[in-house]
């Protein structure tokens, strides 16, 4: 039987996403993938997947057509910078706000 005094000192966090909240709100520009250029989407085979490998926040999926989880994407743009065929473009997030007027 463990000493109850030490039990108080134990911190047991549960593992889960989002302890900093929805980090997607940090983003200024969002990555948009052009599927006609993206290597796995174009060839229909698993290949390249550099965006998945180099994403710091694990929001890009390793699928034939990669998907980006915009809820948590911090918008760093590493995927766009490292894409060998420049299939990813960083687009200002404000363009996607409905009803917002832009000059």
């Amino acid at each position: 039987m463990p000493d109850p005094r030490f039990k108080i000192l134990t911190s047991a966090s549960t593992s889960g996403p989002g302890d900093a909240g929805r980090t997607g709100s940090w983003r200024v520009e969002r990555p948009v993938i052009d599927m006609s250029r993206c290597i796995p989407a174009k060839t229909g085979k698993h290949a390249c997947h550099l965006c998945w490998l180099l994403c710091p926040d694990n929001v890009v999926s390793k699928d034939i057509e990669p998907e980006i989880d915009l809820e948590y994407c911090k918008g760093c743009g590493i995927c766009a910078e490292e894409c060998p065929v420049q299939a990813i473009e960083m687009v200002p997030d404000a363009d996607f706000i409905e009803g917002a007027e832009r000059e």
């Binding site: 889960g16 302890d19 390249c48 710091p56 694990n58 929001v59 910078e81």
Partner: protein, 301 residues
């Protein structure tokens, strides 16, 4: 020791152990490393982490960003705590891997005595130092490994005047079971070196250069490109030392075949922290790199 089969993007496991939505900065080099590194270590491991960016990334109670158990310790005792955890695991008869993962301040400045002791005792742990070349977590103060000429908040005008410590060389002088240097820009290389380290008994030390966008003054999307520039200019070499024998690995080994490397100036100009770096300092650095690589070419050709 035989080199294990190379991991590629395609056969790297899809299982993720780190959750999104953590507190790491946007474009963090450590996040890439940590995400890919944990894939190599697998579920059966315990992390020992001193105060560092990694503690921040793990997050606050009650949510943690990792699925592995993490023990947060004090700065000075990382390797000592890891020793204790390993001893407990041995007593319980478990083969659990104990991994100490500290920053450069926690390794080269504050934690070096505990690490030196553990190295001397030959403890069976993996020690990973992610080197972002300053105390980034507390707001970019100069550390032992900060390179000469680098601007930090404690060397704000003319940059650090002293030369940074060559930490891997200090560790190599202890004759560890395995020593390797890696870069955050080559996560697969790091993954393979960790797989190798897992098979070896004794203290395994991995030194990883980790670009830090806010601390180094680079744009967030340049993290990987900058780390690659550091390797391609020859400033940061990727090598491993086994049984006292140094061997260049991966991208650095490929550089041996090239007649001339990218100029160091290119790497310095990419970062705001080297804005105060004088031409003489840059030239001296270039001469140092050239000399080192001439030595490598003599040795390995």
């Amino acid at each position: 020791m035989k080199m294990a089969a190379k991991t590629t993007v395609l056969n790297l496991t899809e299982e993720e152990f780190v959750h999104p939505g953590n507190r790491a900065c946007s474009g963090c080099g450590l996040s890439i490393l940590y995400r890919i590194g944990v894939k190599a270590l697998g579920r059966d491991c315990i992390f020992v982490v001193p105060p560092s960016c990694l503690t921040v990334m793990q997050g606050l109670y009650p949510i943690a960003a990792t699925q592995m158990p993490v023990l947060n310790g004090t700065f000075a005792s990382t390797a000592a705590i890891a020793t204790g955890v390993k001893a407990a695991m041995r007593r319980l008869g478990r083969a659990t891997q104990v991994v100490a993962w500290a920053g450069d301040g926690g390794t080269s400045d504050i934690g070096i005595q505990a690490l030196s002791g553990a190295l001397e005792r030959g403890e069976d742990i993996i020690y990973i130092c992610y080197d972002n070349e300053a105390y980034m977590n507390t707001g970019v103060q100069r550390s032992g490994t900060t390179p000469q000429g680098s601007l930090t908040t404690t060397t704000p005008f003319s940059g650090k005047s002293e030369v940074g410590k060559n930490l891997p060389a200090i560790i190599a002088a202890h004759n560890p079971a395995y020593l390797a240097t890696c870069s955050a820009s080559y996560p697969l290389d790091f993954h393979d070196k960790l797989l190798k380290a897992k098979q070896i008994k004794g203290l395994k030390y991995l030194h990883v250069q980790t670009p830090c966008p806010p601390g180094w003054g680079i744009e967030e999307h340049m993290t990987v490109a900058l780390g690659r520039a550091a390797v391609e200019t020859g400033l940061f070499d990727l090598y491993e030392i086994e049984d006292g024998c140094l061997q260049l690995t991966g991208p650095s080994q490929q550089l041996l075949g090239k007649a001339c490397l990218r100029p160091v100036r290119e790497y310095l100009e990419m970062q705001v922290r080297f804005k105060a770096c004088s031409d003489e300092q840059a030239a001296a650095l270039q001469a140092q790199v050239d000399q080192r690589w001439a030595g490598y070419r003599d040795k390995f050709k």
